[in-house]
Amino acid sequence: MTALSNLEEDFILKAIEESKRLDGRQPYDYRRTKIEFGVERGCCMVHMGDTRILAQVSCEVVEPKENRPNEGQLFVNLELSPMASTTFEAGRLSDYGIELNRLLERTVKDSRAVDVESLCIVAGEKVWKIRLDVHVLNHDGNILDSACIAALAALSHFRRPDVTVIGESVTIHSPQDRDPVPLNVHHIPVCVTFAFYHKGKRLLVDPTEKEEKVMEGTMVVGMNVHRELCTMQVTGSMLILKEQIIRCCQIGVVKVSELTELIKQALEKDKTARAEGKKFGFAESHPKKSITSKVIPEQTLDTSDVEDEVSRIMETAELPEQVSSKLEIKKPGLGQIGDGLTNSWLDDGDADEAEEEENGNSKEEDEMEGAIGSEDEDEEEEEEEEEKKMIVTKPKAKDKRKGKSKAYVSDSEEEETFTLDNADLDVIQGTKSQKLSEELDLTAALKKPSDKTKSRGNTRAKGGKKKWKKEQNIKDRP
């Protein structure tokens, strides 16, 4: 949202000086505030003027923190949804978001509004983790106050599953089994935000977004109905007198009792609606008379002609073509289906390939013998590898497999070279599709070198690899 124009800014400030507000409220008035609950437990929506907040409480069983083995956890997460304003980004919490999140956490969690000790199931093993998600859906100022109301209303509305502990076994009862139990909410702390203008002389309660844009600073007073202060924060570029703070607290006392009463009424109303089996939830609370709302009752669809439609489709559909692509097993463990593209040159290359493979095999054996000298290192490395593997699986079985490891690994080595061959083959096949013209030359080039040179090349490659392994080994050893 763009900044306000100078004219508008001046106008708002002028009005405040005369104790007037754009929406016709008195300086210490809250906007119309409405609290609704969802069908699910612990789901609450708060409207404060145009500001809209959705809060949802959920729970799960987790292991407690080490330093607090017999306390449950309360996690507070406030999100500024991009829905609320274009300036909010999804997924990233802005400085403003962090500030609000911390303030809400201080008010709800640090004031010990929820009894965390009663959330313990088995000390040191299982506790409930209560998660409070607060979504800001529309930003029209004073997010904190409305978020606070939504949070406390949701926490009071929430029911967690009942648990019984017999000996070591923990049973979590489903809602059908046993009625879920409410959280122990000791007190209801509510935040009241004041905005300051004219060097801290004028103050407004519940500022709208426009009023927030021209304010000098804010003061947040978090308080419960017993006049106990839970949070207090002053920020901004103004200095305020001690008297001003006292005055704010006094206003706060009145507002907090009003808001607490509102929360209690809403909870009571939801309770009676549920008890009487009436309809409840958000869908019910849509303003029915508003022209922007529309509801149609349950409808019946006639599905008598569905069968006809299905048979029409099935009849008109062309029969799927028969399996036409040829399946080819090129080597053990390597299959191919479909030629894809013109495949003229690979066919006569097959013979070469087979030869190559044979050569590869015998050469490999030679090499295995030749490489005896370096086997010690190899083996050691293999053991290392083996060990690593064992750690991943289970250390117990280590001894048993160690004896076998040598044979096993030399097996795998052979396989490795196979794979390399295959990969080579794949590369050749891959490039073929792109450069048709160059293929002929390439084929010729590939066919030219005698088998000897090819195998030598291969050996070199392998020798190189061994060397690299050695180097690695040396590096590994201190």
Binding site: G338, G340, V392, E415
Partner: protein, 275 residues
Amino acid sequence: MAAEFKTAQPVEYYKQFLKEEVRPDGRELGEIRSTILNVGSISTAHGSALVKLGNTTVVCGIKGEFASPTVEEPKKGYLVPNVDLPPLCSAQFKPGPPSIQAQVTSQLVADTLLSSNLLNYEDLCIKEGNMVWVLYCDMMCLDYDGNIIDACLIALLAALRNVRLPVVTIDEDTGLAELSSTEDRSLNIVNQFAATTFSVFDDSILLVDPTVEEEDLATGLMTVIVTQDGRLCNIHKPGGTPLSTDQIQDCIGRAQTRAKEICSLIDDTLDSIER
């Protein structure tokens, strides 16, 4: 000349080809690129497979580990599929956290595994309520040239069938698990499936097995996943050009044929090796 034309007017370029019912890479509209499957490519994994679908290359490795089962299902082991699209496979992927494409593909693979009843998860149980196998199925794309879903699913299925898990016995006294070094067993795959992806070009022409160029130009994509016996496992269409029921039926028919091909490819390839 052709290259410039292609860069400047890719859609026109394609239209010229498709008018003649042929695609720029020489395929017919309904033709699938050649599929190459290699199983057991990674010797250190419990099961692995490499698939090349034209240039698209996906390697899948499966690693089994012990885990404790969930409280609700004490007998069931689980599979954790993950699709990785590293910067290596295409310039369109950047290093860092997984791209949206990778996440969406992973989710689709996970959904497919869930809904296909691929295997009996109770097979993965070692000791009820205490220890089960969890199979980490990592699919890594080495070369990205479109149609990653099909390639991933073939690789995954072949790798799962290639899995050899050591037989585990639990020591009564110590309660520790012991891996047998000589005996191993494979998984009992009951239900095989294969995916076929279609792309819609210019709101009208259906192309099977799109390359990356065709995917970029596509006005819609649809993946039909069919089991071996012709049952539908998923019709995944994330938006794009609307398709009529008859067109969908045509796609289903093609997907069924393809599924049979893929299943026999996997069967034959696995039969050709003895481990």
